[in-house]
């Protein structure tokens, strides 16, 4: 057996999701190769060569791969996939966009968003917004799988010594053209890999009020998230959304502020180790899964919390 991991990166740095995916790959087999496809991405391959547990890195440096277009990447991944028993990618918008296209072209039924590996062909994955867990067995000869990154630790980025092999790009038809992007700048940790997350919901009442959460986040080294309601209302950008169809997070501490706790939101955070809920409605469903519930008006509670965090332990 052998496993190919499709790395996710921005041509400068590898994303943590890749490291989680390497750990999942190592649970399947110790023979793990990594694909680094991009443009001007040789530095990423160098960075990845020290990831523990990676045998070989395929570096493909070509302008066609600069923007992760699935139309361009899928012929390349398809050409490599047939040498492997498993091809893995993170269940991020990158992996979700790319891998099913490859799977269809290989006539493989992909397994999405796995949270546990039982054997080389049997996996656990959440369905119905995490309200059920399915154990599924694949009969395909090559298994294409996306990984729920919060369910697997990040592989160590030191101690590895993978060989880098440059390979050629695979011709692809010009079907799509990247026009631009608006990425949300943030000095805080990435939402999906942060140790602490503080999220706001509709109860925040405005985007400006999220500054209160940002101050707490800066004290705790936390990432800031939001419920769908807060994103729909325009308080914060789409990439803040935690939930069934947004980001899935599982930090050590999740603080839900002014979030009622719709099942679609719970689906994205209920595997957090410790959950705190602050809401003025004591009937809010979020309290049913919170380890620590505080029934309070967030506009008085959050400043009090900020002050309390400044006290000595």
């Amino acid at each position: 057996m052998s496993v190919l991991v499709i790395s996710e990166h921005d041509n400068d740095e590898v994303r943590t999701a890749t490291l989680n995916t390497v750990t999942a790959a190592r649970e399947i087999d110790t023979d793990v190769d990594l694909l680094v496809a991009g443009s001007g991405c040789a530095g990423v391959a160098d960075e990845c060569s020290s990831i523990q547990g990676v045998t070989r890195i395929f570096l493909v440096d070509d302008p066609a791969y600069e923007h992760d277009l699935p139309e361009n990447l899928s012929p390349l991944v398809q050409s490599l996939a047939e040498r492997y028993t498993h091809v893995l990618a993170p269940a991020s918008t990158f992996g979700k966009s790319l891998l099913p296209r490859v799977a269809a072209r290989l006539d493989v039924q992909q397994i999405s968003d796995i949270s546990d590996i039982k054997s080389a062909d049997t996996f656990v994955r959440p369905i119905y917004a995490g309200n059920a867990l399915a154990t599924v067995q694949s009969t395909d000869s090559v298994k294409l799988i996306t990984i729920r990154t919060t369910a697997f630790d990040a592989a160590p980025t030191e101690g590895g010594n993978a060989a880098i092999e440059k390979i050629e790009a695979v011709t692809c038809p010009a079907l799509a053209e990247f026009l631009g992007q608006e990425l949300t700048p943030s000095e805080r940790p990435e939402l999906t890999s942060a140790g602490i997350v503080i999220s706001g919901g509709r109860g925040m009442q405005s985007g400006d009020n999220f500054a209160m959460l940002e101050r707490i986040a800066d004290k705790l080294g936390a990432a800031v998230g939001a419920s769908r309601a807060a994103v729909d209302a325009g308080y914060v950008p789409n990439d803040y959304q935690v939930g069934q169809t947004g980001k899935v997070v599982a930090p050590n501490l999740y603080i839900a502020v002014g979030i009622s706790g719709a099942i679609q939101h719970l689906a994205g955070m209920k595997d957090s180790k410790v959950i705190v809920a602050i809401n003025k409605d004591e009937e809010a469903p979020i309290f049913q899964i919170a380890d620590y519930g505080w029934v309070a008006d967030l506009f008085t509670a959050i400043p009090e919390l900020e002050a309390a965090l400044d006290t000595d332990p």
Binding site: S97, A174, L220
Partner: protein, 249 residues
């Protein structure tokens, strides 16, 4: 231009699902079913394109048991023109659905296929991408904005880092995200009118597509429940518990 909108019948999004006691799956008997919410957004977008004069005909297609026809009627009542039901009792996987849709696309020759980004039952998020792969068409997934011009479709995608703008060569596949639009409710007169709109029925065999599953579901269980927590009454108490008891800050 003709638009094809594949739709799926799923458990209503507001219903709490129950796992069957024999662990064979989720209870579907006597449970309220509805159109997958993301499919509703796709239908709505097709209707808005038609209202704006960019689209002449909206064809809905679904694959599943006979009752899936109700889901087609829902979309026809919203404003789609006609429906196609691919009737089967087999539990369809995304690859099988994509293969069925490929045949429908080849017959109908739409300029755009609009789908929901995922169905809220299996949460697979695969069908649109697979269909694009099988057809070797361009795709915009996770789309929150869409503009149609003569030979291309421009989309804004909601990606993990923010937003991304891509121009797709037509014909194209677009999978829609939550913030593309807010689907309308069907009016009573439109619900009545929808009963007379045509629905063609085929089987997978008619379309020459094998739909046998590739994945065996060994068991379906409920996730471990979280223990009930405690209430705190002040910031000082909360911080104390997080420091001393939970040891997370």
């Amino acid at each position: 231009m003709k638009v094809l909108v594949p739709v799926k019948r799923v458990i209503d999004a507001n219903i709490k699902v129950r796992v069957k006691s024999d662990q064979s799956g989720v209870e579907l008997n006597n449970v309220k079913m509805a159109m997958n919410p993301f499919c509703e957004i796709a239908v709505e977008e097709a209707i808005r394109l038609k209202e704006a004069g960019a689209v002449e005909e909206i064809v809905l297609v679904t694959a599943g048991i006979r009752q899936s026809q109700e889901t087609l009627r829902t979309g026809l009542a919203m404003g789609a023109d006609r429906g196609i039901l691919i009737e089967t009792d087999e539990a369809l996987e995304p690859l099988a659905v994509a293969k069925l849709l490929k045949v429908v696309v080849e017959r109908e020759e739409p300029g755009l296929v609009l789908l929901g980004k995922q169905a809220i039952d299996g949460d697979n998020n695969q069908t649109g991408q697979m269909l694009a792969g099988l057809l070797n068409w361009s795709i915009g997934s996770f789309v929150s904005k869409l503009e149609v011009s003569n030979d291309s479709i421009s989309v804004v995608r909601e990606v993990d880092g923010g937003l991304e703008k891509v121009r797709l060569k037509s014909p194209a596949i677009v999978t829609v995200d939550l913030r593309l639009n807010e689907p309308r409710y069907a009016s009573l007169p439109n619900i009545m009118k929808a009963k007379k709109k045509p629905i063609d029925v085929f089987t997978p065999e008619d379309l020459g597509v094998g739909v046998a599953p590739r994945v065996t579901v060994l068991k379906v269980v409920e996730p471990a429940a979280r223990d009930a927590g405690v209430k705190v009454s002040s910031a000082a108490e909360l911080v104390e518990k997080l420091r001393q008891e939970a040891k997370v800050i």
